[in-house]
């Protein structure tokens, strides 16, 4: 009695399996790492695109954290089942770039598909990060952000601090007052340990992270962030960590909630934290540009972007590439970009969307969303602030974090920690240089 049923079920399953590829619609797989409100935005974008035309269907799939998504994409490529579009965070850029053949550069994709595409329509502060030195766009910027300092305004009032701290000495001073006013476990802090204290810190003060324009001009770059300025900053943090005027919050952004819960009144993290801050903070807050040391000439310079971009994987069919190109044009649409920016807090990628948001008077009501844009465009970028591109960056960050943790934990001085971070990092860069060629 069981057998015919089983046979029927098998037959049914086979029919289903055979039927699905026969659909006329070309499917485009999109693997991403967006959670919470941003996940909804991704799904809505795909649904809107699918409804706007009958030929292509974008299928978004959530693949976990940024590193998870990138690794899933790489593993899938090795197994021959890569998605069409892979969202990769900015630190994975060098790895993706060096994978010639595994990815299809966006400028080439648009040309092959005959899709109208002018790289000059995009904000150079953002696309520069994902382009070759010749200005050819390699990946499509999707969600870009920068680092800002989030400020709990109620806490400042409580501690009688009249003006929002702008410089590092003012932040240290303010944090001490805040600690005295009841914020005993955390005067100020930051998420993304290395992004804050090495990468953004260097760009904002116009000092190099590494040679060759922070690696943008070649993989034979060497790290340089053990300069006296870096050492002085880390040494100050070590001192302040002792009584929790500064309190370390980990390598990634899991501890962002320390700002929203009211524990840390001054907190540096991504501008993309906006949606969450709006939802969780039960106090008046704002975001301001990152602090700087006023005795450093030229500081503040400009900040660099973070976030992620969309990479098109290689070895797909021409009609699939055509669909991807159409999807990218759809994403670049001015109204859509402006809306995306205003809802998610991520930066607009086209000049037109930025102008439109400005013209609409959006920033007058929401100055928080303009903070990262002001930082990025503060000055004409220099060699030290154009961006960064280091191979093995995901693991480099872990190694740097380890050394920062050793310093803040009291096992090493700032000088020792940064020297080791640089030498260990250089060894990894040499390994990468050999594999990338």
């Amino acid at each position: 009695m069981i057998r015919p049923q089983f046979a029927l079920a098998t037959l049914f399953a086979c029919t289903l399996a055979l039927a699905s590829p026969a659909q006329a619609v070309t499917e485009i797989q999109w693997w991403h790492a967006m959670t919470g409100g941003n996940n909804d935005i991704v799904n809505k974008l795909a649904a809107d695109f699918n409804a706007s035309q009958p030929d292509y269907k974008v299928v978004p799939t959530f693949k976990g954290s940024y590193p998870d998504t990138m690794n899933a994409g790489i593993a899938a490529f090795r197994a021959g089942t890569a998605p069409h579009i892979l969202q990769v965070f900015e630190v994975g850029t060098a790895t993706m770039m060096s994978a010639k053949g595994a990815v299809k550069p966006v400028y080439q994709l648009m040309k092959d598909a005959g899709e109208p595409f002018d790289p000059n329509n995009y904000l150079p502060a953002i696309t520069g990060y994902y382009s070759t030195s010749k200005g050819e766009m390699l990946s499509f910027p999707f969600n870009s952000s920068s680092m800002v300092m989030w400020v709990n305004l109620d806490a400042l009032k409580k501690a009688n601090i009249a003006e929002i701290p702008k410089t590092w000495p003012e932040v240290f001073e303010g944090a001490k007052k805040l600690k005295a006013a009841g914020y005993a476990t955390c005067g100020f802090s930051n998420a993304w340990a290395t992004w804050a204290n090495i990468e953004q810190f260097s760009a904002w003060h116009n000092v190099p992270i590494g040679t060759k324009a922070n690696g943008l001009d070649g993989f034979d770059t060497e790290l340089k962030f053990n300069s006296p300025l870096h050492v002085q900053h880390l040494q100050t943090l070590i001192e302040l960590q002792k009584d929790k005027t500064y309190d370390y919050s980990g390598r990634a952004n899991a501890s962002e909630s320390r700002f929203g819960s009211g524990e840390c009144p001054l907190f540096m993290t991504s501008s993309g934290y906006y949606a969450t801050a709006k939802g969780t903070a039960k106090f008046a807050f704002t975001s301001v540009p990152m602090p700087y040391y006023p005795d450093v000439t030229g500081a503040p310079q400009n900040s660099i972007i973070g976030g992620a971009s969309l990479w098109v994987m290689g070895g797909k069919k021409p009609e699939e590439y055509k669909g991807i190109a159409k999807f990218f044009s759809f994403l670049s649409d001015t109204d859509r970009q402006a809306k995306l920016h205003q809802e998610s807090g991520y930066l607009p990628i086209t000049k037109a969307a930025y102008e439109k948001t400005k013209a609409d008077g959006f920033y007058d009501k929401n100055p928080i969303l303009q903070t990262p844009l002001k930082e990025l465009t503060n000055k004409e970028p220099t060699e030290n602030s154009r961006g960064l591109r280091f191979g093995n960056m995901v693991q480099l960050r872990d190694v740097w974090s380890e050394e920062i943790e050793a310093a803040l934990g009291g096992q090493k001085t700032a000088q020792q920690a940064l020297d080791t971070a640089v030498s260990r990092g250089n060894a990894m860069l040499r390994t990468f240089e050999k594999t990338a060629k």
Binding site: I74, F77, R78, K100, S261, Q395, E405, A406
Partner: protein
């Protein structure tokens, strides 16, 4: 004369062995040989170009002070977890073996943690002891104890050890309990009649008779701490702070998956494999002699 039946022909026994052999070949020897082969290569993350470099991966690895640190961390971590989870489980099992009213309930509750996935167990403990959110971290801080697993390596180690031990106790408990129940009552009663107290009875009768179970659990636990605790470490500390909880298996993952250094990662797994094989061999060669079946 032996009485056992003798089968003629050689085909049948091998045929019967085939399923076992195929499984071992496909799921152990094949991946293991792949790892060995990969440890001699330098390859980019995408596998686009690879180059045979002999022992260079091993040389680079053995020149890293961090690798020796990971080895030391592994020794500390595994001895702590194995010793604690075995002794606590034994304590609980002896208690549950008594004629208590609540013993069945107690037994069932003891087994639950084993059903929890390692990563989930990790997250659970992280929430309890998270420096700013944790329910246990607040009282600790109020007692004037500066609890900070984010920066203090010993605190972080304590946290992952607690989570790993908690998860393993259930498994050990189950086997110890079964072992205890297999000990004939008459032996214990004879001891009692001879005037041996509960303490003496335990160490001279129960513990030696449990030794096959203890030995089996020792082997299983060592393998557990070497390989399966990875999920806990990943969820709780991510190997930090400053590498204080980076065990060898976690470093394999960090270098291979996160770092894209497949050759170096493969070299590490080969070394790890050799260490575990040697450890198990030592256990069977020397520790097993003390076991009384």
């Amino acid at each position: 004369m032996e009485k056992s039946a003798v089968f003629k022909g050689k085909l049948l026994p091998y045929l019967l062995l085939v399923p076992q052999l195929v499984i071992t070949l496909v799921f152990f020897y094949w991946p293991a040989s792949q790892a060995v082969w990969q440890s001699f290569l330098r390859e980019d993350a995408f596998g686009l170009n690879s180059e045979f470099i002999g022992l260079e991966n091993y040389q680079a690895l053995l020149a890293q002070p961090e690798y020796y640190k990971a080895m030391a961390t592994t020794v500390v971590f595994s001895s702590l977890v194995a010793a604690l989870s075995l002794s606590i489980a034994l304590l609980f099992a002896t208690q549950a073996d008594k004629n208590l009213k609540a013993a069945p309930t107690f037994k069932v509750m003891m087994i639950w943690p084993y059903a929890v996935a390692p990563a989930v167990a990790g997250v659970l403990w992280l929430f309890i002891f998270h420096p700013s959110l944790g329910t246990m971290a607040r009282p600790l801080r109020m007692m004037g104890f500066n609890w900070n697993p984010m920066l203090n390596g010993n605190h972080a180690m304590a946290l992952v050890v607690m989570a790993a031990v908690w998860k393993q106790i259930a498994y050990n408990f189950l086997f110890f309990l079964a072992g205890l129940q297999a000990i004939p009552r008459s032996v214990l009663e004879a001891g009692a009649i001879d005037g041996a107290g509960p303490y003496r009875r335990f160490w001279t009768i129960t513990f030696p008779l449990l030794s096959p179970t203890t030995f089996f659990l020792l082997v299983v636990n060592v393998v557990y701490v070497f390989f399966d605790t990875f999920g806990i470490i990943d969820a709780v500390t991510g190997g930090g702070p400053a590498g204080a909880t980076t065990t060898m298996v976690y470093k394999v993952y960090a270098d291979g998956r996160l770092g894209g250094d497949l050759g170096g990662s493969a070299a590490q797994s080969v070394i790890l494999m050799v260490i575990v094989i040697v450890l198990t061999a030592i256990q069977f060669r020397y520790v097993e002699r003390k076991v009384q079946y």
